[in-house]
């Protein structure tokens, strides 16, 4: 996708999100061992790394699902460490969680409505639902199917559409392409780029599909066993020998 890079609006240098020396634990398991990173307004930042590196944990910490034991975390200049998820989400953040986490007993439409819980304007909710249907026509076909009976990929689409219901300032995407067909993987990346370019949405993207992630991202961080090993411009990272070997499957 040679055109991808040129699509980007130039991101600002205003910090949207900043982590400094963040440590997070699962019980005794020390999952994040002092991470520092920033995401500027209007940026797409990719976070890549092997299984168990701590990418998901980073997103969980940012969105308030987990509380860092140590370190500072600011979102839009305000402290966000240890603040419960529902409060942070109210401040214009959205998170597409790992494993999709669709509400199985709600219909597709209800899932979307719940996604727009913090939006009080009914007309706006409806408008955004239609927008989601626009991105993923399959969802429209299945408007009244229970979320739990959707196929894996359909659920992934729903999860993304649901997160977009609040038109977030910062969107956290945890492996959005997982389980999607190649066609849709491309569609997803197109959407990511579009959201960023047209709406100026800031995106923190975790991907196993590092090739594509690095293509669309401005900057990238590489994680390994709870630490940030490398950071820089996405294009530089994509060229890095060790990264290519470790994560991109180059021999």
């Amino acid at each position: 996708m040679p055109e991808a890079a040129t699509l980007h609006k130039t991101p600002t240098t205003t910090e949207m999100l900043a982590l400094t020396d963040v440590h997070t634990y699962y019980g005794h398991i020390h999952a994040l061992k002092g991470i520092s990173m920033t995401v500027n307004e209007g940026e797409i930042v990719a976070l890549i790394g092997g299984n168990g590196a701590g990418k998901t944990t980073t997103l969980r910490t940012v969105s308030g699902m987990m509380k860092p034991k140590h370190g500072t975390l600011t979102y839009q200049g305000q402290n966000a460490a240890g603040i419960p998820a529902h409060v942070i989400m109210g401040r214009g953040m959205s998170h597409v969680p790992e494993g999709r986490r669709i509400f199985p007993q709600l219909t597709v439409r209800e899932n979307l409505e719940v996604g727009g819980y913090t939006v009080l304007d009914k007309a706006l909710i409806e408008q955004r639902i239609q927008e989601g249907f626009g991105f993923f026509p399959r969802l429209k076909e299945r408007e009244h199917q229970l979320g739990g009976t959707m196929s894996g990929g359909e659920q992934q689409m729903l999860a993304i559409a649901r997160a977009l219901m609040v038109n977030p300032k910062l969107l956290l995407l945890d492996e959005p392409s997982m389980g999607l067909s190649p066609l849709f993987v491309e569609a997803i990346f197109d959407i990511i780029v579009k959201l960023n370019r047209e709406r100026g949405m800031t995106i923190l993207l975790v991907e196993q599909n590092a090739n594509m992630a690095l293509e669309v991202a401005h900057r990238a961080y590489v994680m390994q066993t709870g630490e940030i090993k490398l950071s820089g411009k996405a294009s530089d990272i994509a060229q890095d020998e060790s990264v290519r070997k470790a994560y991109l499957g180059d021999e």
Binding site: H23, Y25, Y26, G27, H28, H30, T56, R60, G64, M65, M66, K67, K69, H70, G82, I83, P84, A85, E98, G99, R101, P104, G148, G152, D174, E175, M178, G179
Partner: protein, 542 residues
């Protein structure tokens, strides 16, 4: 919380050897127990203090703690064996010689331990929430109660007077029916393992089971009618030597009832199963209350015999027990042995192919089945095994009480046993035994003791007399223990691992956000990993 270091895993320092402490504790508590139940001491100057019901309850509890410590503490094996065996086989019966209530209490504790062990298989291992467990207890109790009491002759007399069209031919026909249907059922069962069941085959199976039931009824009825002439000779029930046979029969009867109840309902999930078992438990109680001919209905059956074991009696006599205590001592020893056997069976099953299958089902039914575990059959085994433990204990209970009536088998008993299991630590054998001990001690000793001791204290208003607030006190204890130790008093190792996260997350989840990660059981999800809770939602009692 500034600790950069994570809470170090509380890596247990090698526990200090407590042999001496253990033996000391044993000696002291035994002495206390023996003293506080010895008439001479009681009549002495200390008597007034030792007689205090609260103190007495404390002494008994401390003494029983011996066994617990022998299990828990690190100590020389000989000391642990000495304390364990000494407490149960030597000191307790000795104290019981002076005070049969101790024997009664111990038997009751052991009965409940066995029930809790049985329910633990069903709930703790296989994850099937059964709220009607006491039904099997009732089945065992009535199996022996009906035959070893004057009930038997009443039944025979009735059939003697109302033979209907029953005669020897009926017996033959009944037996024939039983054999044919049973054989065809076994055959069909074999077949169904090989080929897919069709509608026809399941109907045929249903028909056959119906035939089997009819055959059994006919047979039993015919036997009753033909045996009617014996009624007079059986005025006090069958010979007590049949006790041993009935020990086996009560196990079988309860297991069969377990299978009969289980077959239709085990397809249900979680709480649907809970409520339906609760209902079936009530059905059995109501039946016992209404089938006057067999169960004497609300009047209850009495007197019920115990076993006659001449050599044991002479042994007991030799040891200085009085005649009226023989049967209690005998039942105590018996129940001790039976609980030992049950425990062994439990442990062995747990560490077997079947035990693993139970836990697999509890964890994830769909995956278990997709790994080759036949659901219904495996669940039925759990149900029937649990039931059979209850059955044998029911029989011992009947022999101990010499009187049974439907009142003893109400829903509260089922709930009580469940609370023992959870309180002790679901899935943990020593845990549920401890749970049974604690709850029974509370109900039979500590709470009544509290009431007795405070009954004559003038300044306590009647309304808030602890004796009248037993439910409240019990409730408070229940809630407190569960809040402080949600994993149970002596948790299962598996459970501890599972709850590990939460325990340690507690500190950093002050706001409850991180803790919320583990929805329900404290598992945390991984990408694409089925959120285990989802199955829990529709069932999967945990």
């Amino acid at each position: 919380m500034t600790a950069i270091n994570p809470a170090q895993p509380n890596r247990a320092k090698p526990a200090p050897d407590r042999t001496i402490l253990l033996v000391l504790f044993f000696v002291v508590t035994s002495a206390l127990l023996l003293a506080s139940h010895n008439q001479n001491v009681l009549n002495g100057s200390l008597g007034g203090v030792l007689r205090n019901p609260i103190l007495e309850a404390v002494v008994v509890s401390l003494f029983l703690a011996n066994v617990l410590f022998a299990y828990l503490w690190k100590a020389a094996p000989w000391a642990r064996a000495l304390v364990g065996i000494g407490s149960l086989i030597l000191v307790l019966p000795m104290a019981g010689r002076e005070d049969t209530s101790l024997l009664d209490l111990s038997i009751q504790i052991l009965i409940f331990s066995a029930l809790a062990l049985g329910l633990n298989i069903v709930v703790g291992l296989a994850g099937l929430l059964d709220l009607g467990y006491v039904a099997f207890f009732a089945v065992g109790a009535y199996t022996w109660g009906i035959f070893a009491s004057p009930r038997l002759s009443s039944i025979l007399k009735y059939y003697g007077e109302n033979p209907g069209a029953t005669n020897a031919a009926t017996l033959a026909f009944g037996l024939f029916l039983v054999v044919v249907t049973a054989a065809s059922m076994i055959y069909m069962r074999r077949m169904s393992n090989k080929t897919a069941p069709t509608r026809l085959s399941s109907w045929a199976f249903g028909l056959a089971s119906f035939g089997l039931l009819a055959g059994l009824i006919l047979t039993v009825r015919a036997i009753a009618v033909l045996g009617a002439s014996q009624a007079a000779g059986l005025a006090t029930g069958i010979d007590s030597n049949f006790f041993w046979l009935f020990l086996a029969l009560s196990i079988m009867a309860a297991a069969i009832v377990g299978v009969l109840i289980g077959l239709p309902v085990l397809k249900l999930k979680g709480d649907y199963l809970a409520i339906i078992t609760l209902g079936l438990g009530e059905v059995i109680r109501v039946l016992a209350n209404n089938l006057d001919l067999y169960t004497a209905g609300s009047q209850g059956i009495t007197p019920i015999k115990s076993a006659a074991v001449p050599w044991f009696n002479s042994l007991a006599g030799f040891l200085g027990f009085s005649e009226d205590q023989y049967y209690l001592l005998f039942l105590y020893v018996l129940v001790l042995v039976v609980v030992g056997v049950i425990l062994l069976v439990n442990v062995r099953l747990d560490r077997s192919r079947i035990g693993r299958a139970w836990i697999a089902i509890r964890d994830d039914e769909v995956a278990a089945q997709a790994m080759g575990v036949p659901l219904v059959q495996t669940k039925l085994i759990a149900f029937a095994t649990g039931a059979s433990f209850a059955g044998v204990m029911g029989m011992i209970f009947a022999a101990k009480q010499t009187f049974i009536s439907p009142e003893s088998f109400n829903l509260f008993q089922s709930i009580g046993v469940l609370s023992m299991v959870i309180l002790g630590g679901m899935g943990s054998f020593p845990g549920v035994i401890l749970g049974a001990t604690v709850v029974t001690l509370l109900n039979l000793r500590i709470l009544p003791g509290l009431g007795e001791a405070s009954a004559n204290v003038a300044w306590i208003p009647q309304q808030v007399n602890p004796g009248q607030l037993q439910r409240l006190v019990f409730g408070v204890i229940l809630v407190t223990i569960m809040l402080l130790r949600p994993e149970g008093l002596l948790p299962n190792k598996r459970r501890v691992l599972e709850l590990h996260h939460d325990e340690n997350q507690e500190d950093d989840s002050a706001e409850g956000n991180a803790g919320a990660l583990g929805t329900g059981t404290g598992d945390v999800y991984s990408p694409g990993k089925a959120p285990i809770k989802e199955n829990d939602r529709s069932g999967g009692a945990k």
